[in-house]
Each structure stands twice: as structure tokens, then as C-alpha cells.
Symmetry: D3
Subunit: 136 residues, 6 copies
Amino acid sequence: MKITVYRKAHFNAAHRLHEPNLTEKENEALFGKCNNPYYHGHNYELIVGVTGEVDPKTGYLIDMKVLADLIKAEVEDYMDHKNLNEQVAEFKTLNPTAEHIAYVIWNRLRVKLNTSFNLKVTLYETPRNFVEYCGE
Amino acid sequence: MKITVYRKAHFNAAHRLHEPNLTEKENEALFGKCNNPYYHGHNYELIVGVTGEVDPKTGYLIDMKVLADLIKAEVEDYMDHKNLNEQVAEFKTLNPTAEHIAYVIWNRLRVKLNTSFNLKVTLYETPRNFVEYCGE
Amino acid sequence: MKITVYRKAHFNAAHRLHEPNLTEKENEALFGKCNNPYYHGHNYELIVGVTGEVDPKTGYLIDMKVLADLIKAEVEDYMDHKNLNEQVAEFKTLNPTAEHIAYVIWNRLRVKLNTSFNLKVTLYETPRNFVEYCGE
Amino acid sequence: MKITVYRKAHFNAAHRLHEPNLTEKENEALFGKCNNPYYHGHNYELIVGVTGEVDPKTGYLIDMKVLADLIKAEVEDYMDHKNLNEQVAEFKTLNPTAEHIAYVIWNRLRVKLNTSFNLKVTLYETPRNFVEYCGE
Amino acid sequence: MKITVYRKAHFNAAHRLHEPNLTEKENEALFGKCNNPYYHGHNYELIVGVTGEVDPKTGYLIDMKVLADLIKAEVEDYMDHKNLNEQVAEFKTLNPTAEHIAYVIWNRLRVKLNTSFNLKVTLYETPRNFVEYCGE
Amino acid sequence: MKITVYRKAHFNAAHRLHEPNLTEKENEALFGKCNNPYYHGHNYELIVGVTGEVDPKTGYLIDMKVLADLIKAEVEDYMDHKNLNEQVAEFKTLNPTAEHIAYVIWNRLRVKLNTSFNLKVTLYETPRNFVEYCGE
């Protein structure tokens, strides 16, 4: 019996969209007000989906408390109330678009999860803009 | 033209997580406060997705009223305001985790639906925890 | 400068509507399926509103972390994953309707809050049914 | 790196469910109160999902502003505050069920999007009824 | 013990904003695309709040089922899937703005409720526009 | 006939909680991770409520488009994608707590609104924390 379990989480962070390999002019043209050098910020809403076989002994795919604690350690404690560009290692060289943040979160969780599970990450940057990444 | 139509429903129920084949100690260690012998409960939110071909005569995949009535008969009338462990036959021997409740709902609906349709069930146990089952 | 700050919280619990001073027949007639002797349950969503003067030294009415911790201690830790009728002292003799649960929560928080603040409690029993109590 | 980005939009419109090739009696039997000749209406909520490769130069799959402007031009400006049966060309001969509206929106967006992208459209007719179409 | 209980409901309807005492030109200038003679429509979300004393015998202010049935009879059955301008008596001579619809709903419910209760009506025309009326 | 109309809006901004009249140590003790000198950010959701008499000529309290444009000019264009501490004049000397942001928004809107209207501002800093200010 194959199932997907989902857990929601959230964190608040500042960022600016800025691609280090481009000039200031190109960055401003590409990212507009999202390129503001003083930063802006978001309440990021995160949904983590884990797919696999239900354990017949417990009726759980994965203990939700274990999954919630993993998300807390790898994402919330790591990114919440941070400036992504300045204070999160992965974004020193990577533009913190929603696409790239989802990619970083997926990779941080992937290495901590049993390899028998598939992993999907949905990240809301605003209630109207969101992205989904599953490692393909 | 292949499409998926979704219908939301909800029901309120009591349950405790308790695996009959394990000892009390093991149950308590595995399920913590969810193992409370006096039960706790949830507002379960359910999304039923049905995939198939649109009927060119009507422009419907399935009449939403028919689908809503089916969910009412098979899920809402059967589980709403019930104690899942004590009053729902399937959970006499099956631990009522979200995974297993989704599995039971999927099976109850599957036998009533035209075999040309695919079926997916999403069940929210809380706004932060949910599962998805599609019969694989 | 007078303002109201709000904090949301939630807890899951089982209950049955049952008025100890009435007969079984009367209880069943009054409360229907909510009187189920095996209990049912809800995800209770709680909004606590505190009104008062903003502290000019901090720009806070009350530190949200202090308010969140108070709600956790007095409501979440006290009622979450409990059977309200059987395991929460106030409902040994009080029918746990949404009205009465809001009343109990309001009283538990009131005694812990500075008397210069006004207090309002909004309690969602389901997404469609909710109550509001402000101690009048 | 393959990802899906989503953008939400909405529009308000009147419609009636009415299949031109059927008799009035058949229409009434099939569509009930949705066949009301004076029309009724909805706040349609739309989620457009675009799947493809992230541009390594920008960290974007597609500029959300470009996607939002496309949805505005092709869907919102075209359908908002309109009577779908009377004022939207595609529904002169096509019954405006949620299934068909999603199909029309998908086709309007498909021709404007780079062919390297996949496209998925989710359309909420009410908070409880919605459909998903991805062009298969 | 004074409390407010709330019940949510919803209905779908078509309307156009059109003030019968004004000319076509004035109507178009005032109401823009909301004046479309072919109508548009909304999913109206309604919250009905009733304030009064809790009945010590039951722990209820009012039985939610009674309140839900009243809203169904007076609002949902009366307005759902209707054209407000053409098929709802009150709007033959009254422009169906959100303000006026809330006013009509309040009056329809007021005459059916015990005079010891206060009544408040909140009506969402869209998720971003809503009005509140309490009979003052 | 007295009514309240509400309009929702939103903006994204960076900020840090920092009271200029206190030492770094005191700021850190008071505001914890919200005092991060590199800033963090939020999706602020705003609800503006305007109370007054409905204009019998139009059936409107205030044209929602006029209200939406006012909020856009005074709040969204002014604060969206900004660093509140560094780029919004009012917060050069005022700690940008939710309480103070609501106060600033209320004052910016108040001077532009007809004095016959009452004004209420609700500001969500996160989905769980929000404040309400009405100028008292």
C-alpha cells in the first residue's frame, strides 16, 4: 500500500533577487522591485510530501512527529527570521528565487530521509505564487 | 478529453491510535498522546478526485451532485460524529491512522464508481497533516 | 494608543454533548448525534484577542511569544488530545458545548493576564460553526 | 532541474449550464437549478501551473510577472464580469461546465506559452467543486 | 453569560449593479463593468452572528442546526442559483450591491429570530470585498 | 442605514524589530530573533474597514474601486517590497512592530478618507499573529 503523507510548515525570511554573475543594470532589469538592495521579505509556507509504503506494524508511512522535527531542524531553524542572501550558506552564490529555495530545501531533506521514500516540496512565496519540486 | 473533478467534504470523529497486535507499552511508545485511551478527535477534511473522459453529451465528467451524494452515503453518513475505533467496522482490527482512514475511504468509494474512472483521496487530519492515496 | 493583538492556536479533542441534569432521552432529543456515548471530536481553532495600550518603550502591546506560551500552557497542553468530558476538570459538570469551552478558556486565560487588558476568545468548532466570548 | 511554478488568479462571471443540442426538458433534467434561464454566477479561482527547466541565468522558470500578465490578458480580461454563455465566444456552442471552462482556459494559454513548457489548469467553481486539466 | 455564535453559509448568484432611478449613462459611469447588462456572478459567503444569553439548561445560545436551517430557508433556498435582479423580489427596486444584499438578508433573518437576540450579518462578495451589517 | 465595508490587500516587506532608544543588548533581549540585524520579512495581509451611511443614490458606502486605489497608493505602493526600517519614513524613528505598522497605515488612510467615515485596520504579520487598530 503506497501513500503520500504531507506536513505543512512555515518560516519568515528576508531576501533580494540578485544574480551575482550579472551586472547591477541587468539585475535591476530582470528582477525589478524584487532586486531592492535593502531587501524585502515573505512568510514562506512549505508543504513537504513523502511517498512510500505504509508500515503494516504501525499504520504509519512515517511518524508525523519525526517528519515535523526533521523539517524544523533542516528548514525552520535554518532559515526562519534569516536574511537568505546574507545568512544562509547556499544562497551566497545562488539567487534565492522560489525555485532555488525549493531546490535547496529538497536537497537538505533528501539526505536525511530513508532512500525508499520519494520526496516532493511545495513552497508558497505568497498566497498567489508557489513552486513544486520533486528532484527530477 | 481527460480531466479530474474534485469534491470536498468533511466529517468529525473521535479516534485513538492503537495497534491491537502490540502491547499497551509499545502502543504508548509508538503513538504517545494519540494513544490516549479516552480518545481525541478531528475535523477530517476530505477531497475526492475522479479522473476520466468528459461526456460530450453533457460536458460533465460526472454530475457533482451524484459524486457529492456518493461521498455523503459512503463516508459522511458512515463516519461523521462516530468513534472510529468503536463504531466503524473497518477499524475494529485496523489502527485508524490517517493513512488507514484514507485507504478505507478509497475502497468504499472505489466499488461504487464506474471502473473507467481513476480515483484519488486526500484526507486532512489537521490543517498541517494530510495524506493522499490513489489505490496503488 | 489602544490596540488589539490576536494569536491563533489549535487543539484536537474528543467530546460528547451531554447535560448531566437531564435524562438520557432528553439528552438524545436535544443533542442528536452530538450526544453519541462513544464520543466524536474536533480540531478546535482558537483566536485569542488582547486589547490595551501599546507599551511606548517596546512598541508591543504584549510580547507575542509570552501570549503564545500562555495559550500553550493554559489551553493547548491542558486540552489537546484529551477527552473533554472525561479528562478536563471543568467539564465534569459542564456540558462541553462550544459556548462552554470558550467560557472555560476565557476564564483560564483571564486570571493569568494583566487586569489592564481586555480579553476576547473566538473558538471554531468546525470551519462553519464558531463562537465568541468576551466575559460580559 | 525541472520544476513547476504556479500562479493564482480569479474572475467573476455569470453562466447557465445548457447544452444546445438537447431539448429544454432534457437540459432541465440534467442540470437542475444550474439550468436557470436567468443565469447564476461564481467567483472562479484559477491556478495555472507551468512545468519546465529553470533558466540557470536567472533562477526563474518563467518570470511570474510575465505569467501573471498572460493570465490577465487571456483569462481575466476576457472572462471577468462577463456572461459566459452570451459574451464569451467559445461558449456560444459549448456548455460552460467547469470542465469546459478549464479546457478553454488551457487552450487559450497553451498557444501563448513556449512549447518547452507543460501546462496544467486548476479551476475552482466553488470552494468545494474544482477541476484539473492538463491537455491529455 | 453573553456570547455570540456564528454560522457560515454560501450561495451562488448572478447580478448586475443597476440603479433603476438613474439613466443608462449614469449607471455605466457609476458601476463600470459591474453594470454589464448580461450579468456577472459571485459565490457569496455569508456569516451570521447571533448574540445573546446561553441557555443554562442546554449550554447552547441557539441550536446550530436550528440556525443553519433558518439560513437555508431564508437565504440559501431563496437566493442560491438565482439572478438577484430578475428573480429575487427585494431587488426589483433595490440595486443589489453587497451593502443592499446584506441589508436584505439581515431583515429576512431578523423577523424569524427571537427578539432577545442581536443579529449581525457579514457577506463576502469576493474573498477581497465584504460588508458587515448589524441593523443600526 | 449604517454599514461597514472591508477591502483586503497585501504587501511584502523586510523589517527588524529594533527600538532606537534602547541599547543593542536590550534590543536583543526584548526582540530575540526578530532583532536580527540582517532583517527578516513577511507577507503582510491587510484588511481595511470603513463604516458609515450607505449612499441611497448608489447603494454603495464607498466605491470599492476608490477604496482599493486609495489602499494601493497609500500602503501597497508605499511599503511593498521595501525594507520598512530603511526605506519607509515613519519607521526611521518608530520600531516597526505590527502594532506600529497598523498605526502608520491607519494614519495614512485616515487623512484621505471623508471624515464622516470611521476607519478600522487589521494587519496580519503571519497567519497566526495579527493586530487591529481603530484610532482610539
